[in-house]
Symmetry: C2
Subunit: 200 residues, 2 copies
């Protein structure tokens, strides 16, 4: 096998392994409430949000390609580590360790140079400090809020989540986009008014 | 409502409408054969293939951001037009018209400047002439072949598709990447050897 064929074989093995993301189901329902959303669909929807909404980022000089690279791979670790519900304090304890180990294994399937660059993008997303990571995390938080609102608050109600929690967890949206945080606060207010999210 | 809020409202309406892509099911099964794949998952998997494999494109100077913009939106028209199976000659007759009308409605939900740029990306993908469109179409063809191979030829067998058809339909992969077309031809040979795809 040539060096190039060997490289392609590693890349295809990673792409095939990544197919499992389609079976990692999140707490959010898709907007017609028929079933829960999986991580692959969520990642696509974030990528669409990124290309549609990045003009609203606080930083006007964002690298959109960097954002797309991050949102496309940001949940791949959940193939091994599973999805952790953002309001689940118990499982959030060891989430970081589980996800680091998953990143080692999954990105480690790629040729060494790509393993490093994919891992660097994932680490940057997780750190949430660069303008691109702050914006990516902003849409990653806004997306389930939006689906939840569209699905009549189904997941919030199932888990007994109230508006003060939704506000506290999601205010970091403002670190990436003041405009989207204002939109999110409107969604919280509408959810309270429509009786699908208890005020507290 | 301010001009900026009005703009955001149009963008969010488009993003919400796009959620319907999660209910457009393709002929391909996901690799564990448990169910058919939907267009949102497929689009995410293509984006992952793009960032992993674009080094194998025939043209070394590809614009990866352009490729990602195209693959993220390439199937959105199927919300209105439905999925047309690539071996279904009857429904391919009016596919172009159905998809043009869908593009008018769906991209037309966006603010005018974005409606134009999303439509231009989609038109470029459909035309399949630019280096970025040729590569995007190459992975769009390779992806279902790969899933079909992993799922034991399930969809090929269901529709009575034989290797000569798979070869004829997919040889355009070589317009985007000779390396990926060589890989695809190996997949066809392996599928014949393993008895999951009749030679003719």
């Amino acid at each position: 096998m040539s060096a190039n064929q060997d490289r392609l074989a590693q890349q295809m093995a990673f792409i095939i392994e990544a197919d499992k993301l389609k079976n990692i189901f999140r707490q959010s329902y898709i907007s017609d409430e028929s079933r829960r959303e999986n991580d692959a669909e969520h990642s696509w929807h974030l990528a669409l949000m990124a290309i549609t909404l990045y003009e609203h980022a606080n930083d006007p000089d964002l690298d959109l390609l960097k954002i797309l690279r991050m949102v496309i791979i940001h949940d791949i670790v959940e193939i091994d580590a599973g999805d952790t519900y953002i309001y689940d304090e118990e499982h959030k304890q060891d989430q970081a360790l589980r996800e680091q180990q998953a990143a080692d294994r999954l990105f480690g399937m790629l040729p060494e140079d790509q393993a490093k660059s994919f891992r660097a993008d994932w680490d940057e997303f997780e750190a949430g400090e660069s303008p691109e990571a702050r914006f990516s995390k902003a849409i990653d938080r806004l997306h389930p809020m939006l689906l939840n609102y569209l699905a009549g608050g189904k997941t919030w109600n199932k888990h007994g989540v109230v508006a003060t929690q939704v506000h506290a967890i999601n205010q970091k949206i403002g670190r990436g986009s003041d405009t989207l945080w204002a939109y999110a606060q409107d969604l919280i207010q509408k959810s309270i008014s429509e009786g699908i999210l208890p005020a507290k």
